[in-house]
Symmetry: C2
Subunit: 244 residues, 2 copies
DNA sequence: GTATTTATCGTCACCTTGACAATAAGTCGG
DNA sequence: CCGACTTATTGTCAAGGTGACGATAAATAC
């Protein structure tokens, strides 16, 4: 915070959002098809310019809402990190602050804005090169995935992918999709229900599905996002992903 | 990354650095005394404007070097997060990208630049209100401390506070200073030397200090920062700080 | 009703951790 | 040089957590 001798530059600042969800057991990311240059016709992360007087997180939420046509954003939104400003946009130096949304599956209006239209894509298709992203968005997605994976280990945020109430199996499906591994249902059940300040039994059960009905849980009070505060409680000891 | 209807704003972008080190068993942070307004005479994090065509990490390193008079920066520098742009600088909206440096104790030239002069301060003095920081730097410091604490748990970065070679006791002193707890020397020794891909025995020993000489270790090959790559190896299982 | 599916509870061996005893190998003060 | 002291390092042991997997419970599917 010292004044420069050299000329300070002003940069256009954008916010981008890596919105992740689990659909049909697979991790999906929300992408927009760019309708304008640069990268017209290519897929990219949703995002846009920060407006004067706007906070970063607010801007990220606003852009995502605009481009998906969603009213109130579900899930958990947090800052991921900043990229640039050098050499990431052919139009010039642009700084972007990437964000991460972990959310239950929600429907997107394909024609959310006249500049882009949004849809969910399996993350696997991006990672294996089947789908290419504009700008440096593949790198951002890759960082977001690593962040999401590690968040599940030590925070209760896996539940952000579920609705308000969910079964242990649904939560396990989230972990399996994000980590890309299978987990033993019995051991996961033990850990999830045995970890203090994580889950709370609602007393209700599922019905209608195949197999034995499952108990419905919700996030424990201590694990829910307090107003304005960061996510507080941690999983201790953590629920580590298998490393081989 | 969608074009805006509303006017995109251009923001001045600064980089700030929370440089942490351990001196005399206490965690210290590098602060500069502001010689100009705003906040003239107050303490603040070192930092400054990002120049055109400059990367964030580069800018952070450059500013820190300028304000401390240090040639090559020691330790580990990483991005912490971005703050703003709203309401954090009386002169107007400024976005800042905060960084975190974990480094061995290094001497700073008090008169590093004509805009500020730098010195190490015990973190405790800031946290207990004995020393106040300008801008929103207390919040940034607080986020940096939490990041540092958690980094020690699952990454080998505690060693970034030490020199190239260090004893287990020196490393333990780092953990104790950052976490603000005492650790059992015998259990810490077992964990540090027993964790794969963490430490490497140099075969050499300390001499001259009180007590039995200690073996000197260095970071294991796998735990050292590969060129351009993020810090790779993790402590698995992690070395969790005591929670009470 | 029987097979199938999914949920949940238990068991057991192994590993890690926290608490703490014991020993090793220097310096320090005389 | 000696005993006192300091710090490093090796062990021991019990408690807790985890992975592998058996067994049972309670639905749906045929």
């Amino acid at each position: 915070m010292t004044e420069p001798h050299p000329l300070p530059a002003r940069f256009p600042v954008t916010v981008d959002v890596v919105a992740l969800t689990v659909r049909d057991g697979a991790l999906n990311v929300l992408l927009i098809t760019r309708l304008i240059d640069p990268f017209r016709g290519q897929l990219a992360l949703p995002g846009g310019f920060v407006l004067a007087g706007e906070e970063l997180l607010t801007a990220a939420g606003r852009e995502l809402a605009e481009e998906t046509g969603v009213g109130r954003l579900p899930g958990h939104l947090e800052q991921l990190g900043s990229y640039g400003p050098k050499g990431r946009d052919p139009r010039g130096d642009v700084l972007t602050v990437a964000h991460l949304l972990l959310a239950p599956d929600f429907p997107v209006l394909a024609a959310g804005s006249d500049a882009a239209h949004a849809a969910w894509y399996p993350v696997r298709q991006v990672m294996n090169g089947e789908v290419r992203l504009a700008f440096d968005h593949e790198r951002i997605l890759s960082d977001a995935l690593e962040r999401a994976k590690s968040k599940l280990e030590y925070s209760p945020l896996g539940a952000a992918f579920c609705g308000l109430e969910f079964t242990i199996a649904q939560l396990r499906a989230v972990y399996e999709a994000v980590w890309g591994t299978r987990l033993d249902p019995r051991n996961f059940h033990r850990k999830a229900t045995g970890t203090p300040d994580f889950l709370e039994d609602t007393g209700r059960m599922t019905a209608g599905d195949a197999g034995r009905p499952a108990a419905l849980y919700r996030l424990a009070e201590a694990a829910r996002p307090a107003a304005g505060q960061p996510a507080r409680a941690v999983l201790n000891p953590p629920l580590m992903r298998p490393r081989d």
